[in-house]
Symmetry: C2
Subunit: 442 residues, 2 copies
């Protein structure tokens, strides 16, 4: 979508409310724009200072002599409309309004006023009551509180700055980057559907993560999902599965959440994955970001622990997956090569000998890859170097590989986690989180 | 239970199979006993070496001139019975048998043989096919692969060395220690019921964490639970909620798992908490270790983020808890003191000003503590120092306080987590984990 591309790539930004006072939002915005590497021009606007962040400041937007593509507004509500008017007069492409005090507190009339101002202009609004946007590729971060994320395959659309920060930071912690992050706020103009459409066509984005309290336009939202859900995975979290949560969400961004069951059914119908818990949500985003899609539900479980292996088998069947049934020839071949007994239930209980792990992976991937659709690698208590086998397997097969890494606080953990990140393996701290993520890929 | 106390406090230990070769189990055992601080005498037994780990080695158990309280056996199965005989002859109190190849591979006959040998003696067996035990108080660790844990309130009984390590390491990672850890193995003699009885009477232990593939004696197990479940919280994880998992568990320690639904019903009846996922299991152990028990289901939610706050409200109601309803007077008092609007749904959306947090906590705890049974503190994206408010609240109330700490990878995380650990607050990485743990306390 050409318009969003323009919005995401301003050559110059004016920050109205820019400040050297760390208590002001305009400080946070200036800090991001000036320290994350944005290459365009930055114009602080402050009625009382001649300099902000060491840059020449202007007393109003109208005073800036050069062209301005984007305006960020972090000043009290009563001054916002006037600034938006000036932005329209200057032909600014987009205005990001952090200021709150609109529909979420019953002042929908102030939103109508803003829409009147931009009517018939080319100026678009993100917000108000929004935490900001981020285009990681050109190092543009207009976001209160969150540093620029590393670059990667996850596109975020979120109606809560805290949730978008949670997704972005959790991905970063797991070695996965972000392509673009859109916060929505009250979305009076540009809305979730515009951003979905953009991310669906964006080559950098492999998975679209949406946190939505309520769509701006239900019919448009539905159409957008239908049109785009097959292009790339869309993973959705929507609060309000209880009446009380719905009420709380409404007072947050003034959204009308609508019937939750209908929303859930719609997601299912359009091929959108809806998660009902935040941890499962980020787990699934991670799986889609790192794994190819499995072609079926048969999984091979390789474990350092028989006990944890049987817990994983429980999870596999609880989640509607099944253990790959290896033909007798495969089982015999593995037993001969490794000395490890392969039971009928298919659990490969391999203890901690990496030589054995390697031989089993080779045999499976080279000779029996038709027998399974995914591999689950289970590394239980503190062992050395078995986690590297996940990366080894990844080079031998194009099927998804997920790892359970359960060791905490022992001497191997740091290296093991680094290795899993480096190899781009989706790893999880418990069996149920890994298996549920694998199921969600299907 | 006097007998287990004797078993846990040996003054001298012989390690049969002790070795300087890191590939041998007897190396791992020696490493633990000699490096974790155990103050008793250690006698390596090795048929071929005169010295192991720098200590004088004996060619057989019979050759040790001094008294031996405990024997650890890590040698091949065919030699085990003879060593157990010698142990009985010497009047050894307990034998811990790491060696496997018994009922779990269909050789129940070898177990009968061992039982015959100890019949009519005072010698008790832990195992075979067991990863070891740990008495943290006297720094005794007889455990393959896991260092001595820090001392604390969690007692572990587990039929999987990997799971006991997972519990212990996860607790350690969260700043919580262990009192005693019993691994069960095939439990031919001392069994889960003996250890439950012991931990229920142990003053150091505040919560008993059990991972059980199948009880040795169902009736005894039932009686033990009935007798002890009211003394302190018992949190149970049992694999085998699917047929396939049951089968796998059976081949791990040769347990007969029995009907899973009956087991679940029994837990409920006796007041034992059964968790169905490993992460929820360690989450709940942590909650019991750190929190007093709530008297009711009314919770106060204080959040830095309105968005995440509404997700927490969903979780509260999904889990059968409810938001504490503050009387109008309380809401007005808080609004006057802080300038923060308190909605009827009770969500205290306090942003990141610790001054405001402090005033709200004081008002609630001092004037309105009859209105709520627990406090949930929600710290969403990277903010500074709000997490300290959990510790502040803990000093003002005797009600449970749990925290959601959702920030990853930002500059505040390390200090925040240290603070939560130091204050002994049960914190969780996502709303659903915290709320589920709170529910499990009830």
């Amino acid at each position: 979508m050409k318009e969003i591309e323009r919005v995401l790539n301003p050559k110059s930004i004016a920050v109205v409310g820019a400040s050297d006072n760390p208590d002001k939002w305009g400080y946070g915005i200036m800090e991001r724009i000036t320290s994350d590497g944005f290459a365009g021009s930055v114009y602080p606007v402050n009625a009382r200072s001649r300099e902000v962040f060491g840059l020449d400041a202007f007393s109003s937007l109208a005073d800036i002599p050069d062209e301005v593509d984007m305006v960020n507004i972090s000043i009290p509500g009563k001054f916002v409309a006037e600034v938006v008017k000036q932005a329209v007069d200057r032909g600014v492409k987009s205005v990001v309004i952090n200021t709150n005090g609109y529909r979420e507190v019953g002042r929908g009339d102030l939103e109508t006023e803003l829409l009147e101002i931009i009517k018939d202009s080319d100026t678009r609004i993100i917000g108000p009551n929004v935490q900001g946007i981020m285009n990681v590729q050109n190092k543009l971060s207009l976001n209160l509180g969150t540093k620029l994320f590393d670059q990667g395959p996850v596109g975020i659309i979120a109606q809560s700055g805290s949730v978008s920060a949670y997704i972005g930071e959790k991905m970063g912690d797991d070695g996965i980057g972000i392509s673009t992050m859109f916060n929505l706020g009250n979305q009076i103009d540009l809305c979730e559907s515009d951003f979905i459409e953009y991310l669906a066509g964006d080559e950098q984005t492999k998975v679209i993560a949406i946190y939505l309290e309520g769509p701006k336009d239900k019919d448009l939202f539905k159409e957008t999902l239908i049109r785009n859900a097959l292009k790339k995975p869309i993973v959705m979290f929507k609060p309000g599965s209880t009446e009380q949560g719905t009420e709380a969400a409404a007072s947050h961004t003034g959204s009308i959440a609508g019937n939750d069951r209908i929303f859930s059914a719609a997601c299912q119908q359009y091929g959108v994955l809806r998660c009902d818990d935040l941890l499962g949500y980020v787990d699934s985003i991670k799986a889609f970001a790192l794994c190819p899609l499995p072609e079926g539900n048969r999984t091979v479980v390789m474990s350092t622990s028989g006990g944890v292996g049987s817990i994983v088998i429980d999870e596999v069947y609880k989640n509607g997956l099944e253990m790959a049934r290896l033909p007798t020839a495969a089982r015999q071949e593995i037993e001969t090569l490794t000395g490890v007994k392969v039971p009928e239930n298919g659990l490969l209980d391999l203890a901690i000998d990496t030589g054995i792990w390697q031989r089993v992976i080779e045999t499976l991937c080279k000779n029996y890859s038709g027998c399974f659709d995914s591999i689950l690698i289970v590394v239980a208590d503190g062992v050395n170097n078995v986690e590297a086998m996940a990366g080894y397997a990844k080079n031998l097969t194009s099927k998804p590989i997920l790892a359970v890494y359960m060791s905490y606080g022992d001497q191997y953990r740091e290296n093991a986690i680094s290795c899993l990140k480096r190899e781009g393996i989706a790893y999880y701290g418990s069996p149920e989180r890994a298996v549920k993520s694998l199921k969600n890929l299907l």
